[in-house]
Structures are given as C-alpha cells and as structure tokens.
C-alpha cells in the first residue's frame, strides 16, 4: 500500500508528542513532514523557566534532537514558517516556498504571548516569554542592564521574574490585582507566596496598571496610570496567551478563541485536518498547560493510526509553580461559593497552608502552599468524586495522617493508591511507575523518565518519583506482607490457601475457589497461576495441569520476546556439551533461519526470533538430537551453572562440573514458586558465582559448602551458608530437600532471597538440618514430584500435544 503523507505544522510540544505516540502505534503508516518556525529540533518549552534561572541548559531541555527525526524517517523543515494551507490541493506552503502535500494534516501552532497594546510596546527590550529567542533576549539584557520589569503576576510572570533575579537583575513584578496568581491561588496562599518571593529580593507593585512604555529606541522605563514611573531596561509581558489561529483561520477552518475541534481532535470544518495543543478549542475550552495537550496527542495518534476510536473529553488541570524551593499546588475550584465549605490548615510560622473546598463531602478544589506532597492525592479524589466523610477530620494532615511516619515522603508516597497520578503533565499514575521500575529493573530517575515519561516534562513531581523509586527498589523484600490477600479475587492469604488445600484436600481450582469464596468466576492471572502451582505442588501425581492458567512462556515452553516471537533454550546439563550437540544446534539454527543466537547468563544457548508456528517442528528436531527443553522461560528450575573444577583446573578441589550435571539431572523439570538457579564452583575462587544463586555449592578440600537464598537480579543478595557436607550424595539430598521445602513454603512468585528473609534462616535450617527424618521426607517428596515432572514438554508438543495452540487458522478473505 502506498504510504499516506502526514504533515505537521508546529514543531512544539503537542505536535511532536502526537508523532511520538503515533510512531509507537503505527511506525510505518505515514511519510511524515514537520514544519517548525523555530530553528531547532523539539524542546521542552516548560523548562525555559529553569533555563532562564540557569538551572538547566538548552541542551538539557531538548526533547528530540535532529537525529531523532532522521532516525524516524521524518522530514524536518526547521526555521520555516508555513504561510498557507491550500485545502483544495491539499498542500501547505512555507515562507521559503517549500510545498508539502498532505493526506492528513496536523496544526499545532501553539499560542502567542499576548502583548498589551500600550504606547511604546514596540520598543526594543519589550518581549513576551515564549521561546528560546525570548530567553536569549532576557539573558542578554541581564548581562548588560540592571532593571527588569515583569508585567503580570501569574505563573509565567513569576517564573520569568525569578529567573531574571537569578541572573542578577533588579526585578519588579507589576500586577493589576492585589493578589498574585489569582487564577490558581486564594488570598492566604498568594500572600505567603508573595512574602517568600519578597524575602528573596523580588519587588512587587500590586494594583498597578501600566499606561505607557518609555524610551527612545530601547525601553528606559514605565509609567503607570497613577502617574508614577519606574526605570526599566527590559520589560517582559506575561499577561496571557492567545491561541495562534491565523493560519487555520486563513484556511477557512472554523475558529472561535481557538481552532474548533471535535472529540477526535479533527477540526470540525475539515476531517483531514487535525488540530492539537494550545491553538485548539475543545468543547469551549482552550488549554494552556501540557497535561491536556498530551492527552489530546494520545487521542489524535490513536485516530491517525486508524486504531479504534479513542476520544478526548477534556481534562481537569492542576498547577504547580516551578520556582525552586517554593512548593505550591492548586487544582479545581479553590474559591468556592455559598454551597461549598472550606477546610483550612494554616501554620504561618512553618510556611504551610492547605485549603480544600468541599461540596457534599466531595473535593471541588484545593490550594496548598509549603507542603504539597498530598496534592496528587487530593487531585485524584477530586477527579474521582470520592466521598471523604470517613476521614474528613484528618484529611488535611494528608494521606499518611496517623502514626509517626507522616513526614517522610517515602512512606507517604508508599501509601498512595496505584491509581494516584504522580506526573500530571504526562498523566502517569503510581501503578505505571512502580510497574516500570520492577519490570524493567529501573534504578535511576533518568531511566524512569525514559520509560514512563514521569517527571520528564515540568519536573515538579521529581521528588515524588524519587521517593517512589527509593521505596520500590528498596522495599522489594517487603512486597508481600503477611496479611495481604493473594489477589483481589479473594480475602485469604497465600498461606491460608496453601494450608487449606492440603487440609481439605481441595484438588481442583474450582474446589479451591468454592471453598475460599472467590469473588470472580475464573480468578485472574495472578491467582490462577498461583493456584495452578499450589495444586501441582500439593498433588504432584494427581493434579492435571491447567494450561490456561499458565503465562504464555510456560504454556508454549519458549520465551516470548518483545515483538511476539519466541526464543528457545535447549538444556545442556551442567553447561557441558559435545561437538555433536553444538552441530545439532547449528543445524537447527540454519534450518529455521534463527536470526540471533546468544550464550545466556546460565551457560546455555538461546535461539531468538522464532515464530510460534515454527516451534513444534523445531522442537522435534532438537528432541531427535537428544535435547530437552531448558525451561529457561518458566517459574521452574532453570540451570546449574558450573566452573571447570578438578578435572582441569589447577585450583579445583572437587569435580564441580560433574556434580553440576548430577544436580541438574536431579532437579530439571521441577516447577518452582519462581525461577530457580543453581551453581557449583570447584573452589572458593567461585568462578561459577555460586553465592548469588538460589542454591550455590562451593567445593572445598574437605567437602561441599551449601549456600542458599542468593539473587543476582534486581537486588543482589549474597547467599546464606546453610551447612557443610562431605559427600556428593549428601549434596543431592540436601539440595532436593531444600528445593521441596521452598516449593511447599514460599508464596508463588517469591524468589528464595525474599523468602528466606521473610521466614528467617532459622526456619530453613531447622527444616533441613534440625531433623534428619524431616529432611529425608522432604527429599522423598521431591523425588516423587519429579517423576511426572521430568517429561520433556518439547517432545510432547512435537508429538502433537496442544496442537491447537500452535496452529493458526488461515482465512482467505
């Protein structure tokens, strides 16, 4: 199919975000051309304030470098202003004559600083605050001049004033009203804000209206309506913005305050033309903050990708001020009326003020100054219409109001619900961030930004994101508190359910769900997988595995990769292999045109990029060559890593490779609460890294040290020494007993490291070392459950088991 042409006018935050979202959904759908009046790639406009304050550099606020456009096949016409849209010919024409044809067009021209029509407003040194050019002008003025006047005491004006002050200028803010930021703050909060800005050296002329800008070519001063004058070498007008609709208007698109668009962000005049961002008016509202624009971008991209029909229904916005050291938050209707009530907390000495406007016990608006940690919590309840009567008395003290930990942001953020919005600009909620941190193993703020976009725009939520990061990464071991129910489908805990299964001989999943009064008919992915495992562990010879309660990797015995293809790992016991085996693997790789092969961290060979339909045939060939599945994808025993050992190594004390093979022969095929790895090192040099494995054996002259509970994953944990034994037979028995104890005791999805920390090393030692009879019984149970488990799933699939799973249905239509 011929690609359609998509043209974007306006290389700003909303337009480019739309492209980013579109590229995620349908990377190849369009030939994309972008026109931007500014001579740069795409930058984070919000961050101009920190650039002005020298807290950031321009390089740091670039969102997409010019290389990004190249990488994504986008033609960028920077520094070119589009002057005409010819709707009949479907093309746009830029200032330099460049013409681009479109099948679909996005207008994202943003807005313009509103310049007061004062006498003298055209003088040099009178500017708005909108783009890099304005910031350059201000920095230049700060180098050569002293007096700056900012007209407008709103968000933008104060950020400009703060930045200019940081550049060493003498700054006066002129405001028409008697309180600052009147659209975001009530009087007490505004007063506190003004006071702390004054303490920093900012001057204010409240209730002053400008009459004229003085000077010849360059501004020299300002005269007010009351007749007074002050000197000024730079005047920044920050009195508002107006949607930049000239181009749309000239093209005949219906405009009111902004270009009028529908819920799909198409202009109501011409569905081939989308408009997005600050130049837009949607359901009567024109937005001037990024959060709504980003939501619009998602919807427009969804539509452009011809995916479903997402709809934009408007956004409730909240505001924070980006002046370092000043915490300020507001949202909703914070003024109220005669039907509303106020809850107010004010501590002038500590500089803290919070006010909630309530109607029928629901939050209508909020203003906070000094302490804004709970802002997102209030905002969430406001958007959800939560009835707060139950905790009305303590609500002002924040979510973490009881107990002594209330002032530690880390614990506070911990108590937020997963749905709480952390990053307002990008609409990222706590659950998303936590999920990204745990699943993608993120460690730094930058990584979280890259993966979730949280705190990547205005950055006011940086503190919250950092707390969340600290909490999530650091709190890994406490992730399964004892009283927590298994999942939302039940009120019972893992332990209660496991013991109930044995006690009442509940041998099927429906029996368990009946007995424990499950709230959902089929359970959910969390409990189904857990129950399937618990039943299998309890009744290894009787229970019939439920394929539909297994994650895809375990269902098809391969690893799903990011593009939906699979990877396959044949088992190589103890890491040993022969030239025949290598040849067989190479032949299979050739035959199935395996695009990538890799030696894994567990000393096995991984073949990537296999299509699902190919799997059974490939397994057949591997089985024929003597391989069984490596279970490298399951919550199961995976590998036994080995070092060279006494056979060749000059340090080796025992045959670590041989022992590794025996251990793998003993344990392969066993399902576990989580993935499970072993290693054997031939001497304390520990080349097999045995001390970060679930079980590590370190050979010494006099025998074998058994180590348990190690983890080399997200949070590295070195093993605990379980005991020392003298013979290989003992190693096998103790290992089997440990495996079984873990299998029977741990919660599903709990690795040995957090499990040992939760139950305590003593309990493990007692079970395995304290009582030889118990150890032997555990080992015996392990061996029994291994009998049905050591069936190669690949071979079974190759012989036709679950063939439906691998056979797509083809339709010629």
């Amino acid at each position: 199919m011929l690609k359609e042409n998509l043209v974007l006018i306006g290389n700003g935050m909303a337009g480019v975000r739309t492209l980013e979202e579109l590229l995620k959904l349908a990377p190849d759908a369009y030939n994309i051309t972008v026109f931007g009046e500014e001579p740069y790639g795409n930058y984070n406009r919000i961050m101009l304030s920190p650039v002005l304050a020298s807290e950031k550099t321009i390089e740091q606020i670039m969102l997409n470098s010019e290389q990004w456009y190249v990488d994504n096949g986008i033609t960028l016409h920077k520094g070119k202003k589009v002057e005409q849209i010819n709707r009949a010919r479907r093309e746009v024409i830029a200032s330099d004559g460049t013409v681009a044809k479109y099948d679909r067009l996005i207008i994202a021209t943003g807005s313009l600083s509103f310049m007061l029509p004062l006498p003298g407003a055209d003088k040099q040194g009178v500017i708005g605050f909108r783009d890099i050019k304005d910031v350059d002008t201000m920095l230049e003025a700060a180098r050569n001049h002293q007096h700056a006047v900012v007209i407008g005491g709103g968000l933008l004006g104060l950020e400009a004033a703060n930045g200019l002050m940081k550049q060493g200028m003498d700054v006066t803010v002129v405001h028409l009203l008697d309180t600052l930021m009147e659209r975001q703050l009530d009087k007490p909060a505004a007063t506190m804000l003004q006071k702390s800005l004054e303490e920093r050296g900012m001057k204010f002329l409240m209730e002053h209206s400008t009459a004229e800008i003085l000077g010849n070519e360059r501004v020299t001063g300002i005269r007010f309506k009351n007749g007074t004058e002050i000197p000024a070498d730079l005047v920044v007008m920050a009195v508002g913005i107006k949607p930049n609709i000239e181009l749309g208007k000239a093209a005949g698109l219906h405009c009111e305050r902004g270009i009028v668009v529908s819920d799909t962000l198409q202009t109501i005049t011409d569905p081939k033309i989308y408009a997005i961002g600050e130049c837009v008016q949607h359901r009567g509202t024109a937005y001037g903050l990024v959060a709504p624009l980003f939501e619009q971008a998602k919807v427009a991209a969804n539509h452009l990708a011809k995916y479903g029909i997402a709809q934009y229904r408007g956004t409730v916005t909240s505001t924070r001020l980006k002046v370092t050291g000043i915490e300020l938050f507001s949202a909703g209707d914070f003024i109220g009326n005669d039907k509303t009530e106020d809850l107010v907390f004010k501590d002038a000495a500590s500089g803290t003020y919070k006010r909630l406007v309530l109607q029928d016990n629901k939050i209508k608006g909020a203003v906070m100054y000094g302490d804004t940690v709970d802002g997102s919590w209030y905002f969430e309840m406001m958007k959800d219409g939560t009835d707060i009567s139950a905790f009305r008395k303590t609500i002002l003290f924040g979510q973490h109001n009881l107990g002594d930990s209330g002032h530690n942001p880390e614990t506070r953020v911990a108590s937020l619900p997963d749905s709480a919005e952390i990053c307002g600009c990008n609409g990222v909620c706590k659950g998303d961030i936590v999920k990204a941190i745990t699943e993608k193993k993120l460690f730094t703020l930058d990584e979280v930004r890259a993966h979730t976009k949280a705190s990547a725009s205005c950055g006011s939520c940086t503190g919250l994101v950092e707390s969340l990061l600290a909490h999530t990464v650091g709190g890994e071991y406490s992730a399964t508190p004892k009283t927590k129910p298994l999942c939302k489908c039940t009120d019972y805990t893992h332990d209660e359910i496991r013991s109930g299964i044995l006690k009442h001989e509940l041998k099927t999943m429906p029996a368990v769900r009946d007995h424990f009064e499950w709230k959902t008919p089929d359970g959910c992915p969390t409990c189904r997988n857990a129950l399937n495992y618990y039943l299998l562990c309890a009744f290894p010879t009787e229970y019939v595995d439920d394929a539909q309660s297994r994650y895809i990797n375990e269902r098809v015995h391969g690893n799903i990769q990011k593009d939906g293809s699979y990877s396959v790992v044949p088992r190589m016991f103890g890491g040993m292999c022969t030239s025949d085996q290598l040849r067989a693997i190479a032949d299979v790789a050739d035959k199935y045109e395996v695009p990538t092969m890799k030696v894994t961290g567990g000393q096995r060979i991984d073949m990537f990029g296999i299509q699902k339909e190919q799997l059974p045939a490939m397994w057949k060939d591997l089985s024929a060559a003597g391989f069984v599945s490596g279970h490298a994808y399951g919550k199961a025993m995976r590998t036994v890593k080995t070092c060279v050992g006494s056979e060749w190594c000059r340090f080796g004390t025992q045959d670590s490779t041989g022992l590794g093979v025996k251990l793998e022969e003993l344990t392969w095929g066993s399902w576990m609460p989580h993935k499970f790895k072993l290693a054997v090192s031939g001497c304390p040099r520990n080349c097999a890294e045995a001390t970060i494995k679930d079980i590590g054996v370190v050979c010494v002259d006099s025998g074998y040290e058994l180590h348990i509970g190690g983890n080399g994953g997200i949070k590295v944990r070195v093993t605990d020494l379980l005991c020392k034994v003298e013979t290989e037979a003992e190693v096998l028995e103790y290992t089997g007993a440990f495996c079984q104890f873990y299998r029977e005791d741990a919660h599903y999805l709990e690795r040995t490291a957090p499990w040992v920390e939760r139950v305590g090393l003593e309990k493990v030692k007692t079970a395995i070392l304290g009582d030889a009879a118990n150890r032997k019984a555990l080992y015996e149970r392990f061996l029994i459950s291994q009998q049905p488990a050591q069936i190669d799933p690949w071979k079974a699939r190759a012989e036709g088991a679950e063939a439906n799973e691998f056979t797509p249905i083809l339709i010629e239509a």
Partner: protein, 111 residues
C-alpha cells in the same frame, strides 16, 4: 456489511483460551470464556501491539502477555488505568461452529 465466515468449531478453542485467525489484512484472536461466550478482537494490544491471543483470559477480559494490560473483550478497550483500544469483530456461534464477520477496520467497532 460483509458475510459471516465459518472459522472454527467451538470445541477447538480451549476454554479460557484462544485461537489465532490469520486473514490477509491482519491477525484476529478468537477467545472462548468459561461461559462459552466467544469474542473476536484484533490480535494487537493497544499498548505496543502485543499478541493478545497469547494472554490469559479471565471473565470477559484478556491480559496481554507483554506488559499486562487488561483488555475488555466486549469493547476492545483497555481497563483503567491504561487507555486505548483495539478493534472488535462480530462473532456468533451456530451449531457449535464459530462464525466471524470480517468487516473493514473502519467498520469494526471499538470503544
């Protein structure tokens, strides 16, 4: 509207499982819930296009195998907090056989 096409016998779809249908234009996943109702959705998760057919079915929902988004099989819409949706196609069961209507993408309903 285009005609109904017989795609598979109901018993050949595992309960709480799916079958993958490949058409010239796209892949479609046909799911069977525990109450034997059947759903057909485009086999591409609204998040990053993950193969929904490979996910775990529960109730009338499927959880995508790549990043755990939950998709409502009636509407194709992602459950909160995620947002987005994939197309759903008309299906019916007659005499134990599942029929699918291959409407164009624009006609296929979505939330």
């Amino acid at each position: 509207m285009s005609k109904w096409i017989e795609v598979v016998e109901l018993y050949k779809i595992p309960v709480l499982g799916s079958r993958l249908i490949k058409t010239r234009d796209m892949d479609i996943a046909v799911f069977r819930a525990s109450d034997d109702s059947v759903f057909a959705v485009r086999d591409a998760c609204p998040h990053r296009g993950g193969p929904l057919s490979q996910g775990i079915v529960h109730g009338h929902t499927v959880t995508c195998p790549l990043h755990n988004w939950k998709i409502d099989l009636h509407t194709g819409g992602a459950l909160a907090p995620d947002r987005g949706c994939t197309n759903v196609f008309p299906v019916k069961i007659e005499d134990g056989k599942v029929y699918l209507q291959l409407v164009t993408e624009d006609e296929a309903s979505a939330c």
